[in-house]
């Protein structure tokens, strides 16, 4: 998951940079730039999730159950 996250980060950066380099029409370029940032955010989420210690990952459902009880 960590590697996939970093690959998505780089891919998002590449989409943004290439869009700026080759697209002339501003609305299209802006759309691809935002899409690139979106891909980066997905990648960042994956990287964050891959670094959460397993204990903390299991913690959230446990707390929810406690709350329900």
């Amino acid at each position: 998951m960590k590697l996939a996250g970093f690959l998505l980060l780089v891919a998002g950066g590449a989409i943004a940079a290439i869009a700026i380099a080759i697209l002339a029409a501003k609305p299209v370029m802006t759309g691809f730039l935002l899409a690139g940032i979106g891909v980066e955010l997905i990648g960042l989420t994956l990287v964050f999730r891959s670094h959460i210690p397993p204990k903390l990952k299991n913690q959230a459902p446990k707390r929810e159950k406690e709350g329900q009880a």
């Binding site: 780089v10 940032i37 960042l44």
Partner: protein, 429 residues
Amino acid sequence: MTPAPITAVICAVLIALIPLAMAGLALMNSGMGRSRSAAHSLMTALTVAGVAAIAYVVCGFAWQSFSGRPAYALEAAGKQWNWIGADRFFLSGLDFDGSPAGLAACFGVFAAALAACIPLGAGAERWRLAGAVASAAVLGGWTYPLFAHWAWGGGWLAQLGPNNALGIGFADTGGAGAIQALGGLTALAIAWILGPRRGKYSPDNMPAAIPGHNSAFVLFGCLLALIGWTALNGAGSILFYGVAPARLGLIAVNTLLGGGSALLVTALITRARFARPDASLSANGWISGLVASSASAPFLAPAAALMVGIVAGALVPVCIEWFELRLGIDDPAGAVAVHGVAGLWGLLAAGLFAHFPDARPDQWIAQLAGIAALLGFIFPLTYGVNWILNRLIPYRVAPDGERQGLDLHELGANAYPEAAGYPEDYIQR
């Protein structure tokens, strides 16, 4: 073009004041850690600043270069995409007679040193001196110069104005992106690579509060940082954006407004949550306001600078708590939130609130391109480099050293010898 002598002198004086920002950060990092690692924290800051400066002089400026000097460029869609400088090593061929390139090299030496001090806050109390030095060498010699070239050295981000009619191109007058966000993202990589401090998370998964040992250090560090940040914002604005020295007053006011409003908001939030304002988090809020103001201090109206600071101050306590509670990131000085998150916010805010002279519209798109470059290229690069370095020179101190404190373990003496002998620290658990 050589600036007027008085401008060059003002710029040189401002550059000479930048180390106060480093001093402020070093004091804050030391104060936010425990007393058993206080001397190590300051010693690491000094060493890291020196090493980053040396690496920058050896090869960093060659990669960063300055607008109009030699650089490598790719051609796409009939335009030049300048991606890295091609200057000479050891600052050879530069005139230090007040020329902009010479002044930019001097600025870069201090900026690289400052950027290298930022991750120390995230790695406090467990990052070995050797690892920190290796990381700083790469940051000063490669990572910082690369992004600084894109933003300030006539690189592709700076050229977004002329090439794509996006405002004035990526704007970052005082280094909110090139210094702060870059340092904050490196801090995140370091916090992940090192893992949390021993005893930070209890067996039932709750993070323990590990209070700093000296709030006076932390708060005095904030005051020192204000002077350093004002100098940083002023020097960067004059050097890279041709701002007239007459605007230094506005730069100083906006820097203070950013820091002050951010501190106020953080203090209010912590008061609402814990019944009293938290000094340590409020200090973090202050620095986050300074960081956010760095992106566009000379081009913000004072009311806009207030707004930038308010948002930065609101982001900091939320992010610090979220990182610690939900994401398991142990960042003793809050470097990721203070420098990383606030730096990125400052860059975005420059596109939303700043009024650049003779600018085309769509400045916000140029700012987003800079943020995308930081997240998509610089962050994976800095994480990857530090991951490899950690394999070669293990970053984390041995468990015994962490228990003893880094002062005794790595330096052989405590910062406060009269108070030495923390019996609980020597009990083998």
